[in-house]
Symmetry: C2
Subunit: 588 residues, 2 copies
């Protein structure tokens, strides 16, 4: 059987129609609203120790990075570990458009809203990657009046976590090539080295390279490639570790190559897990910042949402849950990917139970699921909107199948017509779906209060019978089948001959007990990005598996995943600068 | 004429006999003395704001990185700019052995000694590179009781400066390859791209690579290579910039390639100097730390001492001179390289005048210059020692030829015999050379007081007629000739036909007014590492030039320079770890 790989992540040079949330009517009125960076730079931040003190933390619990960023010290993390846990709320979305549905913005705004109604709340979010920042305009720190600050720092080097991961990733690569050079005691098959190098940049020219050229003193020539840092297994490992020792154990388990006997060679075999842990000893501590409204936020870790699980670090989520009564956190892409992985991988690995799931939907994306063209989404079309409800409905059912309450957040845009909003609210009411309009981009926490109230209501009134959809003791193939049928609504799964062969090998290596991490397009419930709405009767094809033994999951690939993006013709970097005071200019 | 390149920097896999300063008699008594990291971790640091307040800085002037590291804010730098400048003292050395002569240790100890005798003193030093740290055991933060703290942090990620430089270097590389991919408007000749990628690691397999493989969507295939980050021109640019605007101007001037008309293509042509400056806006601020004795130290920047100028940043030296009456700073390798570049490149570019030069010598290195084998240096040999004085004498003459007072610091080792020490002191006395024994490794600042007193005496009693040995209006060839004859004591210079051709091109590009940066072996005054002592009648061969137009110098290469080291068979990383509290273990 021949399987044609379908692209999952497209090169970000491909032009996308970015649906600007600041469009007014059918015109782009860019001047009417301030840009994210303007709003951010006009905001007054409190010193981070003030934010920390509201959480019961002292200055000694902080390792400051400037006045407005801090890592929580190891001692602080130990001190709070025995506290009672607050309620964790996951923010996810319907299958998104290329522009995203504003999940981060809703996450920030919901946290702010909880605080506005007198609840002690915190936010836990992913940290942005520099590559996309330099490539395509667009932040990862929320937007409008629902942002985390200082947005310039967070979107640039922040506290150096990604640089530490890049360094550890590439130090490991250097240790592997040095092992080949110095006699190859472990009998590593240089054709079967699976560990790639990494940079936190968009750099297509590094996707496929040949290294070690120039003669015997310059290493052993071989094929290699670079991933963007957020695609490094070390990022996933860091984000699933619960403490430094767990981090070291996971690093030691990472498979970097296979030897001539086709047996896995690990970091532990190379004896460098201690050095890698040393390089990551600060990166593993969560970063405390604040929203525009002063809500404390932990921004920590940010793995890919296809070849990894797409959630901020377990340490950040667990820490936030010890410091606040309500923790708002997010997972990448739509509920079929991010929420499924959050619920099957992260909660299981970190040992906690979420209380509710918010599903972000936008009217424009629902209209696309209902058949409208991207270019026409600014026009009112209630019929298309209603046709698109099927996509939202499927995600609600999925969340409920995990035994969790679902609340729909309509992330309102100025282009949404009253008739469209009414149609969506009416439908939710008919279907007995908990729903709230959110206007956090324009109004901050105030615009998220209806959502916060619905979430509290859902937690208090609905039963929480959280349980995963598959058992770890199920076979890898059965785990994939469960996800395809119960989460995607598909008919069945096909495995390529390569994938079947891999499953046999994994069994012999003792890896079959691991959860599955699906790499699939985010645009559709199926593995075909053009099938919008709620496709049925489809079959998902698993082309290949990629073991991430340190992270603790088996990635199931349904197509080619681009793990190193490219730059567009006119990168966002062309507009970037510093002013005479040293402030960032043109970042967003 | 055929020119055989001579190696300048050897791959650090080559075994060197490290002459441990803790050797006692003819036996290695490793247990008698504590290791550097043990001494460092037993020391009590003061909060960095206390150190800053002694300098007249407030907490608002600092951007804290944890409790014991801080960057000085842009506002603080502006505030102090108009203050009167203190006296800058350069620490350099004779031609070193592979183990180094303890220049950093003497620099730290001398700063401590000034403070002990009631002078307001500061230290300005280079920041270490991670590559050598993970490769060969050995810190770059002083040693024994003359160290800067926190040594683990400084030797690992510190405040992220090197990571920011790595990122800017590789972002630029990605912009270049993206330019090729998107139509190559600037007509860049892909065979003549001179900008390489960089990592702050020892990784020989990346020295020569082919990138852009995999078809039209994956970039334009071409030869490329990686340097270690400290060899990036951006490191040299950052270290010679005097403020953010100067940094941006220098970045814009960097030549990254030549077009099909063989004309230089610059960062300014690519229009990304703003983005690169944005990535470096924090890295350009100097880092404040403290010595074991609480002396304030600015540790900032660390370019290679062969293909670059080998000094900490101009901003750090200038800032220290505004905050203290005495600034002790260092330059890489011996006086023929580091001091020459400090005096011809750094002082000229940054606009300041040094007051005195300390030349560090060790008895073991002088004995090597006198003909002893490395393996026998632990044995007393007054005759060899006296034969080696010629090397020291030449460096004293060089410093004096710049119109500056020279003071010799004998960095005492426990293996030095009384007779050897006496012979050296007697010789200095006969020659009317200012000299002091230093025992800062074992005694900290106390062990450096005699040296501090000699330095003050030299500054107060000797005339300072500082002047460079060549004018910027001299031709590049004449500048090289002046250095060879006046600094190295050589007979003449030969230029390869390639080098001659390059000089013509440089003239047409308008680069002839730039100073020269010599890349030569550090072990000998000549370009032959085996010619120890004071060779005469030698000719230096310039194989090739490498323009660093952003940094503002023309590198003259006398041999192959290794700009990406390799790892040894058993990298230091194998011993590295973290303890259960998260502290660094086995770092040094």
């Amino acid at each position: 059987m021949k399987i044609t790989p379908k692209p999952i992540v497209k090169d970000d040079t491909i032009e996308t129609v970015v649906l600007n949330r600041r469009m007014v009517g059918d015109k782009m009125e860019k001047t009417k609203y301030k840009s994210d960076i303007e709003i951010a730079q006009e905001s007054t931040m409190k010193p981070i120790f003030e934010i920390a003190s509201k959480l019961g933390l002292s200055e000694d619990d902080l390792e400051l990075y400037g006045k407005y960023k801090a890592k929580l010290s190891s001692d602080a993390l130990k001190k709070i570990a025995t506290k009672q846990s607050g309620k964790v709320i996951l923010v996810t979305a319907i299958n998104p458009t290329a522009a995203g549905e504003g999940k981060s913005t809703v996450t920030v705004g919901l946290g702010d809203a909880f605080n506005r109604i007198g609840k002690k709340a915190m936010i836990a979010m992913r940290e942005p990657s520099l590559g996309p920042t330099m490539g395509i305009k667009g932040g990862a720190t929320g937007g409008g009046y629902a942002q985390v600050l200082p947005m310039e720092d967070i979107n640039l080097h922040f506290t150096g976590d990604l640089h530490a991961i890049t360094t550890a990733n590439n130090a490991l690569a250097a240790f592997i090539d040095n092992h080949l050079q110095q006699g190859n005691e472990l009998q590593i098959d240089q054709r079967r080295i699976v560990w790639k190098r990494a940079l936190d940049l968009n750099d297509r020219a590094l996707r496929k390279v040949i290294i070690g050229l120039g003669g015997p003193a310059q290493g052993v020539p071989r094929e290699d490639g670079f991933d963007i840092t957020v695609a490094s297994e070390i990022m996933a490992v860091l984000c699933l570790s619960t403490d430094l020792q767990d981090l070291k154990n996971r690093l030691a388990r990472m498979v970097v190559a296979y030897n001539y006997q086709k047996q896995p060679v690990t970091v532990g075999d190379l004896k460098v897990e201690g050095a890698l842990t040393l390089l990551l000893k600060d990166a593993v501590k969560p970063n405390l910042v604040q929203t525009i409204e002063g809500t404390p936020a932990l921004i920590h870790g940010g793995p890919f949402a296809n070849i990894a699980h797409g959630c901020n670090s377990a340490i950040a989520t667990l820490t936030a849950s010890k410091l606040a009564d309500y923790v708002v956190t997010e997972a990448g892409f739509g509920a079929d990917l991010g929420a499924e992985k959050f619920l099957h991988i992260k909660t299981r690995s970190a040992g906690f139970k979420p209380e509710a799931v918010v599903i972000v939907a936008t009217i424009r994306a629902l209209k696309m699921h209902g058949g409208m063209l991207k270019t026409e989404l600014v026009n009112e079309n209630v019929q298309a909107l209603m046709a698109g409800f099927t996509n939202l409905k499927k995600h609600i059912e999925t969340v409920q199948s995990f035994g969790l309450p679902a609340v729909v957040a309509i992330n309102k845009f100025v282009t949404d017509s009253d008739a469209e909003v009414k149609a969506l609210l009416d439908w939710c009411s008919e279907q007995n779906i908990s729903v709230a309009l959110t206007e956090v981009w324009e109004k901050g926490g105030e615009g998220g209060i209806p959502l916060a109230e619905k979430v509290i209501e859902a937690i208090e009134n609905q039963d929480n019978k959280f349980a995963p959809l598959y058992d770890l003791s199920d076979s890898i193939a059965d785990k994939v089948r469960t996800i395809v049928q119960k989460v995607y609504g598909g008919k069945d799964v096909e495995f390529s001959s390569k994938a079947k062969k891999q499953l046999k090998d994994f069994d012999s290596y003792g890896w079959s007990h691991l959860p599955v991490c699906m790499a699939k397009t985010q645009y559709s419930l199926s593995d075909d990005p053009s099938k919008l709405g709620r496709p049925t009767d489809f079959t998902i094809t698993i082309r290949e598996f990629k073991p991430s033994i340190g992270a603790g999951f088996i990635v199931a690939l349904t197509g080619d995943v681009m793990t190193m993006p490219g730059l567009p013709k006119k990168p966002a970097a062309l507009n970037m600068n510093v002013d005479e005071k040293g402030n960032a200019v043109g970042l967003f």
